[in-house]
Symmetry: C2
Subunit: 216 residues, 2 copies
Amino acid sequence: MNTLAEENYLKSIYHLSLNDVNVSTNQIAAALNTKAASVTDMLKKLADKALINYAKYQGVTLTAAGEKIALHIIRKHRLWEYFLVEKLHFKWDEVHEMAEEMEHISSIELIDRLDKFMDYPKHDPHGDPIPDRNGNFKKYELKPIAALNVNENGIISGVRDHSPAFLQYLGKQQLTIGKKIKVTEIIDYDLSMILQVEQTEIHISREVAKNLLIAI
Amino acid sequence: MNTLAEENYLKSIYHLSLNDVNVSTNQIAAALNTKAASVTDMLKKLADKALINYAKYQGVTLTAAGEKIALHIIRKHRLWEYFLVEKLHFKWDEVHEMAEEMEHISSIELIDRLDKFMDYPKHDPHGDPIPDRNGNFKKYELKPIAALNVNENGIISGVRDHSPAFLQYLGKQQLTIGKKIKVTEIIDYDLSMILQVEQTEIHISREVAKNLLIAI
DNA sequence: TAAAAAATTTAGACTTGTCTAAAAAATTTA
DNA sequence: TAAATTTTTTAGACAAGTCTAAATTTTTTA
């Protein structure tokens, strides 16, 4: 098996790969709160194990083997988050740190049984898809509410910012996964938006609108 | 917080302390599958942190602080074992290794909620007591079936040997926690015993009788 | 396109936890 | 109780993962 550090590198590289094909040393260092020199050392090890494609100064991509491991860690992270929210009743802004530890529990059988226990959830509490045991999941597209025009509507299906502060704010405003929203007005001055959510109108800044995602 | 290695040392010292007041370097080395020299190094660190009382060549005892940590790890281990058996339907001989990893998940709130989720179980799947959040548990005494005479009876309440092989054997014979047993015969020749368990008679060796415990 | 700036890698060092081999202390035994 | 044996500790080394500082490569910019 891989070390904890290796698993965290693979997971970060996977997430960064969603935005850029080649992931840079500095991006990884920032994501893992470490130094570029440390990243270079680890990249050599991961390349030796054939988990990444690495050419000096060129950035990295995951190999098929590396991506498989990354997706399995993400599967574990998201299933544990679902467990923490649905079974232990934590709030969606409280579970990330715990899941960061739990995602490294190694047993595959354990996670498959946990999946069954919860009746095979498709999304974690933040709307992110949960890969199945083979690493497959539907790559549905989401777009920010900021991209909507007046009178357009959608269902809240994800967040771009996973910080506790943002999640807490959304929770307080009842802007949670599954809620149906409609844009009733866009303020010219600052591009902030007024949304119709169930019976109430909610005013959100452009910043919030960019980080709150709806299904297309 | 403490490192994973430190937690494992404290836990081992706690378990060994149940048999001997002072725990020796070699005992710890054997329990942790490491070398005496490595143990000496770690004992110095734990003593510096005031988690153990350590005098060179004299063996160690846990301080109150060290015992508290050890009991919390044991609490986590046993609650996760209960979860794995009761909720995920693993067999009692399958859960130890998984719980060895899960016991190091740090959140106290998580384990308290898990405890509540399972309705505050008092014993793990092997009959061992689960400490509460303050490290308290009933210190009930158990004795081996080997200590019984003919016609005496009791309720299976624990095991002395936690190895998968022993647990699997017991499971197959229906010799599980909570079963009522009565000694119907003791064979002079090898001190093996014939037990009445529910409707059936089961013949167990002296070795088994020494490792299977009943409530006094 | 050459100089400046930024990104990345290398070199050497440090910490944690481990090891082997040798030394020292404690215990057993004759 | 002195010698032999066992246990424990010390000394020095190593691997993993990290760091700082310096060197190198790439990218940007003037």
